[in-house]
Subunit: 224 residues, 2 copies
DNA sequence: TATTTTTGTAAATAATTCATTATGGAGGTG
DNA sequence: CACCTCCATAATGAATTATTTACAAAAATA
């Protein structure tokens, strides 16, 4: 069972959140400020932290920085005020983080929590499991039962990125940025070609498919 | 028959693990804490220890240190929490150790146990057995039936390293590091050359093969 | 010291991966 | 339907990476 730590100064909100988590099969702990949170983290295993950014004493930004020092891949879901500028909201997130704005929608929170946990697992195990199919990040291979396809780096990272977040559309820019870096001078047509090569290699696989979203970019969808 | 000692404070988990081992042809002993574990170890021969790091009294770290003092090459499989930082998880492992994160997958645990036992045997006997083929660490020789090839040091250690962990990819950096040390000024092309020499010598052997993983490094695969 | 063996370097060759271009097709829009 | 944009595909060539060969330096051995 996954254990979630809720850090939130408002007692009502905090208790409500914990109740929601418990009702949905999670184990929930609570802390009313950053200090209490760190104390709990030292004592027991926590899979994910939900964090209000507006708190007395050690505020959310500071706490998340502290947490990152020790638990590099700990997923953190930050709860921010809506009027906070967007770049500030996203700016300091690590790869395994996400944020939501208040007031928090219960349904949405659970979805995000689940996505974060899944992603954190991917990060820590360097593997991506999709039913019968496994992407092994360290070996650059894709396997299905006995079959193993090994891919060139660019192709592999592209596929891994897409399949890490199925059904999520990535713009060409995002993908270029992730695989080639901001400052590349590489023509962005090359992305088409890589996509094409991937499609070619996995044409007869029924598990997933790379779908073009015209005008936007690409997404991977799981079939079956 | 190999004998495994399970050290785990949670009674259910402990009994379940022992049941799994017995079902798979191992002899299983159990201890609910470090003290009990040491007592058992003093009384009888144990081939491998499975150890939960989170335990009351003598914790897992301490116990493993204690065990190492007397049983230098005892293979230990540590069970750690997932959020433990990776360097902490791996940092104190000896060559014959491994770790897993909770929750533990039965299949994976058995695989790791077998790999550990195999490796421990390598270490204690200074030999690596692959079917008909034997690598003798002290003599720097590779034998198959009546045939015996003796290798120069660098070549032998390289082959030994690769074959100790078949199917695991080692980066050029890892291999350079292991065979030449971090601070070497040796050109890393030399690795290619050594690989090439090994391939040449064992070209007609069907038992194993050195495979290059472009952009990453090399791995040894067992054939047949 | 002379000889052999081992190890490292360098250069030539080969293979793979990646980027670019060109062409044509699909889908949207007026 | 005509037109345009965006994307798919194929072909080509450049860049990167690995293999092989030859040779020289270093170390070990006779």
């Amino acid at each position: 069972m996954f254990r979630i730590l809720v850090v939130e100064d408002d007692t009502n909100t905090r208790k409500l959140m914990c109740a929601v988590f418990r009702r949905n099969g999670f184990d929930a702990l609570q802390a009313e400020d950053g200090m209490a949170a760190l104390k709990i983290m030292d004592q027991q295993h926590v899979d994910l932290v939900v964090l209000d950014l507006m708190m007395p004493n050690l505020n959310g930004y500071e706490l998340s920085k502290q947490l990152r020092l020790t638990w590099e891949n700990l997923p953190i879901l930050m709860v921010t005020a809506k009027q906070e500028p967007k770049d500030k909201r996203k700016g300091f997130l690590a790869g395994t983080d996400d944020y939501m704005t208040k007031p928090v929608d219960e349904e949405e929170m659970l979805l995000r929590i689940k996505a974060l946990l899944r992603r954190a697992q991917i990060v820590s195990e360097h593997k991506l499991l999709l039913g019968e199919v496994t992407l092994n990040y360290d070996a650059l291979t894709v396997t299905r039962e006995k079959e193993e396809i090994s891919l060139p780096q660019k192709e592999f990272y592209l596929l891994f990125k897409l399949l890490s977040y199925p059904n999520i559309i990535f713009t060409r820019l995002q993908l270029m940025d992730e695989l080639w870096g901001m400052e590349t001078s590489t023509n962005d047509h090359t992305l088409n070609v890589h996509i094409n090569r991937l499609r070619e290699k996995f044409r007869d696989w029924t598990e997933f498919e790379i779908v073009t979203v015209r005008g936007l970019g690409y997404k991977a969808v799981r079939k079956i």
